[in-house]
C-alpha cells in the first residue's frame, strides 16, 4: 500500500467513525472497534502497532477506579453523606442544592463523574420527592458541579486521565495546576445558582420535618465493608499523591487499590467486574487505535503544522485557541475522541516548534472537561441524568439545560482564559 492511499483510508475511516459517533446512529463502542479493525484489516496499520497504540495506563486506571467504586457504593456511604448534608441544611432547599453540589464536585474529583451522579441523583430524587418539589433545580447544579469538580484532578474525568497518561503529568500536577482555578469556578457557579434558585423554591415546614426525620445511619448497609473501603480509598489517594515520586504509573496505583479491595472485601469478583463499564473501556481502545492510525500516516503532524501556521507559534494564541475550541467542541460532541485526537496533535506542536506545550495541556483539560457543561449532550454525566429522568414527570430537556449550562460554560472558560494568560503564558 502506498503512503497516500494509507492516508486516504485512515482519514476516511476516522471521519466516518466520528460522524457515526456524533450522530449516535450506531453504538459508539461498536463503530470505534469496527473502524479500528478496518484499519488493521486494510493494512493501514499492523495488529502489533494497533496494540501498541492502546494506552493501557488509561485503560488500567479506568478499570481500577471502576472496580473500587463498584465495591464502595455497596456500603451506602453516598446516601449517608447526601442525607446527612440535607439534614445539616435543615431541609432548606437552596442550602441542600449548595451542599449536594459541593459534595458532587468533591466526589467527582476523586471518582469518575458518571458514577458520582449515578449515586447522588437517586438520593437527591428521594429528597426532592420528600420535599414535594421539582428536582431539576437540584439536579442541574449537581451535573454542572460534577463536570467542574472532575476537571480538578488526574482521575476526575477521562480527558484528564488520557492527558496525564500521555504526558506523564501526575496527580499532584493536575491538583496544583487545575485545583485552584476549579475552586474559583465552582465558587462563581454556586453564586450563580444563588441568583437562579435562591428564593424560588419554597417548601412547607411539615415536609422539611419529614426530611429531618430521615436517619442517615440506616443508609449504611455494611459497616465492616465501609471501613475497608475507606481504608483502601485513602491508601489509593496517598498512592496517587506520591505516584510521581515513587515512580509508579497512576494505573498501577489504581489497580493495586482495586485488587486489594477485591481481596479484603471478599466480594465476588464476578459481580464486581460486571459493574465495570466494559463498553467504555473498549470505546477507548478503539479510539486509541484509530488515532494511532492517523498518527502513523502523518495526518496529525500535518494538522499540527496547520495549527502552528495559523497561530504563528504564539503561545498565548495557541493556548486560547485550544481552550476555546476544546470547550465548544466538547459541548456538542463526545470529548473522549476529541481529546484522543488532540493529544498527539499537541505533542506534534511541541516537536515542531520551540513553544512550551505545558500550558496547552491545561488548556485542553480545562476546555474538554468544562465544555461538557455547554449542552445536555456535552458530557456522559448530563446524558445519564437526562436518561434517568426520562421516565419521570420531570424531564430534563436540551433547552432547559442549555439555558443554564451554556452561559456557565462560557463564563468558566473565560475565567480559565484569564487564569492561563495570567499564570502560564
Amino acid at each position: 500500500m502506498t503512503l497516500d492511499s494509507g492516508v486516504y483510508i485512515a482519514v476516511s475511516i476516522f471521519i466516518l467513525t466520528y460522524i457515526f459517533i456524533i450522530s449516535e446512529k450506531i453504538n459508539r463502542t461498536a463503530i470505534a472497534l469496527f473502524g479500528a479493525s478496518l484499519l488493521i484489516g486494510l493494512r493501514v496499520i499492523s495488529q502489533d502497532f494497533a496494540f501498541e497504540a492502546i494506552d493501557f495506563n488509561t485503560i488500567g486506571l479506568l478499570i481500577g477506579m471502576m472496580v473500587m467504586v463498584s465495591i464502595i457504593k455497596r456500603t451506602g456511604v453516598f446516601q449517608y453523606v447526601a442525607i446527612k448534608a440535607a439534614k445539616k441544611a435543615k431541609g432548606e432547599p437552596f442550602r441542600i442544592i449548595i451542599t449536594l453540589s459541593v459534595i458532587t464536585a468533591i466526589s467527582s474529583a476523586l471518582l469518575d463523574n458518571v458514577t458520582t451522579v449515578l449515586l447522588i441523583v437517586p438520593v437527591t430524587l428521594v429528597i426532592t420527592e420528600t420535599l414535594e418539589t421539582n428536582p431539576l433545580p437540584f439536579l442541574i447544579p449537581e451535573i454542572l458541579a460534577s463536570n467542574i469538580g472532575g476537571t480538578a484532578t488526574l482521575i476526575g474525568d477521562p480527558p484528564n486521565i488520557m492527558i496525564g497518561s500521555a504526558t506523564k503529568l501526575g496527580f499532584m500536577d493536575f491538583a496544583l495546576n487545575l485545583g485552584p482555578i476549579i475552586i474559583v469556578i465552582l465558587g462563581v457557579t454556586l453564586v450563580i445558582f444563588k441568583f437562579l434558585y435562591g428564593k424560588s423554591i419554597v417548601v412547607d415546614q411539615n415536609l422539611k420535618d419529614k426530611l429531618m426525620a430521615f436517619d442517615e445511619n440506616k443508609s449504611i448497609r455494611d459497616y465492616p465493608l465501609l471501613k475497608k473501603s475507606l481504608f483502601v480509598l485513602g491508601l489509593t489517594m496517598i498512592g496517587f499523591i506520591l505516584h510521581q515520586y515513587i515512580h509508579l504509573e497512576s494505573a498501577t496505583v489504581a489497580l493495586i487499590g482495586a485488587s486489594l479491595l477485591l481481596i479484603i472485601s471478599k466480594k465476588d469478583p464476578e459481580d464486581i467486574l460486571l459493574e465495570v463499564e466494559w463498553s467504555t473501556i473498549f470505546f477507548f481502545a478503539g479510539l486509541f487505535v484509530l488515532v494511532g492510525g492517523l498518527e502513523k500516516v502523518g495526518v496529525i503532524e500535518h494538522l499540527a503544522s496547520g495549527v502552528l501556521g495559523f497561530t504563528k507559534g504564539n503561545l498565548m494564541l495557541t493556548t486560547l485557541m485550544i481552550l476555546w475550541v476544546s470547550a465548544f467542541a466538547s459541548a456538542f460532541i463526545d470529548n473522549i475522541p476529541f481529546v484522543a485526537t488532540m493529544i498527539p496533535l499537541i505533542k506534534s506542536i511541541g516537536a515542531m516548534s520551540t513553544i512550551s506545550i505545558g500550558p496547552l495541556w491545561w488548556a485542553l483539560a480545562l476546555g474538554a472537561c468544562l465544555g461538557g457543561n455547554g449542552s445536555l449532550v456535552g458530557a456522559s454525566a448530563n446524558v445519564i441524568v437526562a436518561g434517568f429522568l426520562q421516565k419521570t414527570d420531570n424531564k430534563l430537556s436540551f433547552i432547559s439545560f442549555l439555558k443554564v449550562g451554556f452561559p456557565i460554560m462560557v463564563l468558566s472558560v473565560f475565567i480559565s482564559s484569564v487564569y492561563l494568560v495570567l499564570f502560564y503564558v
Binding site: Q79, V123, L125, S219, R221, I384
Partner: protein
Amino acid sequence: MRKYMMAEVEKHQTIFSQLGAQVHVMNSLLCYITFDIDGTEVSYVYNVNKKDKYFLQRIEPYPEPAGTFNNEDELIDIIKIDIEQFKNAKNSHVFSDFVEINKSLSQTVRNFEDLYLYYNVPHDTMDNIKEKLDDIRTMIKEAKDSSERVYNKKDPDTI
C-alpha cells in the same frame, strides 16, 4: 441501560432503608417463557441466580405464583406438567369458564385484601366470608370426587 437500572436500584435502596428494610441486591437473569396453546397464551417468568433459588410465576392466562424451587430440573418439570395440563384442559368445553373463574378468584383475593386493609371490617362479616369460602372448598372437593380424573402423571398438590 444497566447504569439506569443500577441508579433505579440505588433510589429504591434509599427509600426502603429509610423505611427500616434490609435490602439485598443480587445479579440474576430473568427468563420469560411463552407458549401458544391453540391460540391461548400460557406464559411464565422466573429468575436464575447464583443462590439457586428459582422464583416461578405464571403470568398468562391468569397470574399465579407457582413457588420457589431449589433446582432447575424441578422448575422445568413444573412448567412441562403445567403445559401438558393446559393442553389437556384446552380440549374441555368449559376451558374458558375455568380461566374466567380463576381470574375472578384472583380479583376476589385483591378485593378482600383491600377490604381488610382499608376498612374496619366487623367480625361477623369476616365469619360470613370464611363460611362462604368453606362452602366453595367443599364444592371443589365434591366435584373432585364425582368427576373423572383426566391427568395421572402427577397427583394434585392441594386436593
